[in-house]
Symmetry: C2
Subunit: 243 residues, 2 copies
Amino acid sequence: MKTAAIVLIGNELLSGKIVDENAAYAAVQFRAAGVSLRRIAVVPDEPDEIVAEVRRCSQAVDVVVTSGGVGPTHDDITLECIARAFDRRVLRDPALEDLLRAHFKDRLTEDHLRMADLPEGAELVFGGPIAWPVVKLGNVYILPGVPQIFRAKLDAILPAFRGGRFVLRSLYLQADEGRIAALLRDVESRLPVQIGSYPRFDGADHRVRVTVEARESAPVDEAVRLLVLQLPPEWVVRVDPPV
Amino acid sequence: MKTAAIVLIGNELLSGKIVDENAAYAAVQFRAAGVSLRRIAVVPDEPDEIVAEVRRCSQAVDVVVTSGGVGPTHDDITLECIARAFDRRVLRDPALEDLLRAHFKDRLTEDHLRMADLPEGAELVFGGPIAWPVVKLGNVYILPGVPQIFRAKLDAILPAFRGGRFVLRSLYLQADEGRIAALLRDVESRLPVQIGSYPRFDGADHRVRVTVEARESAPVDEAVRLLVLQLPPEWVVRVDPPV
């Protein structure tokens, strides 16, 4: 199974000016594609922070996706930072320069052209509804932060690292976590499943959601069977999907 | 100005099962309190990942807030990991044990008592509407992930590191970023302000929001004045707050 990390770049996310939507979207899409997301990091528009985080992620996982900092303004420094993370020079890419000149025509500025300044050795990944390609260096895919474009570009690159699926079933319980903890631990130790336990205190019809996950459905079903068998029936509000 | 970092702990955030609300809430609250949030990281329920990230943040900023992994179930390993991050033993805290016994009475389990197993030297920070205290070790505040409780606890601890304020004004423009980039760079180089530029492509009444920020209002107002003076008037949709 492939592993992934997301690096969100931008002061606006840390100052609360903008609420990120891209990480949550990517988490769901990676999961659906059978990719294990291992890490999300949000860093400011500062070279040292960006370089360190991209290096760390690039070494730790198979696929890194960055979000943000690829436009024409002074706070757009992602491309040059990723070049630095891989000890590459920055060179103006002729294909991107042509795209920019064709798009902006006589409104083109030198700042627009900064968007064509890529790390040496970067690849261009075309695809999806948007003509502008994703820039890729090593295992790092460099995506824009604007949510509509981020989503379109992520959808376009995901098929390249698709791998299998996850099976998930949830038990919604009227129970205190402390009284089911031993049972959860016991079932998880006996079967190749991952069990999660998520309490809530907001007056919903359940107090805990227990999730059971694996790559195959057989152990998930067996774990759910064991749990339901050993829980007092009045604690079990529902199982989703049901048996 | 104090600096801060947030570490969100939980597989459920990386698998897309649960959308985090705590980081966005904390970003806004830190900002309002005059604290500079420097980093957000989301890590899985795995000791090595939690220990490394907490150590990294604890050394880099003044205040670290963690979210999640403090309940009674097998996937709740934050307290023991933070002990490991600071090379501390884990000891059962008598005050917390008393609170748990008083609350759960004859329903108390050994798993509930895990919530009283704290890193040696941890402090208890009481305050806010919830009786259960925040556990603090060094500069790390260990908060639960349940949003209602996280928010109440963050609100309770924030006054301890409050410091000043930020002044923010926004210009909403019908303009292409590439054509204003040079102006933004020029104004930012002349005044002690931070300028951000955030494009959108969704049919709103503006194509770029330019933000101007500082600790004082005078340079912000001067920067806005310079920008408005040099932008073609038909590009300026509005300034918020207005002059």
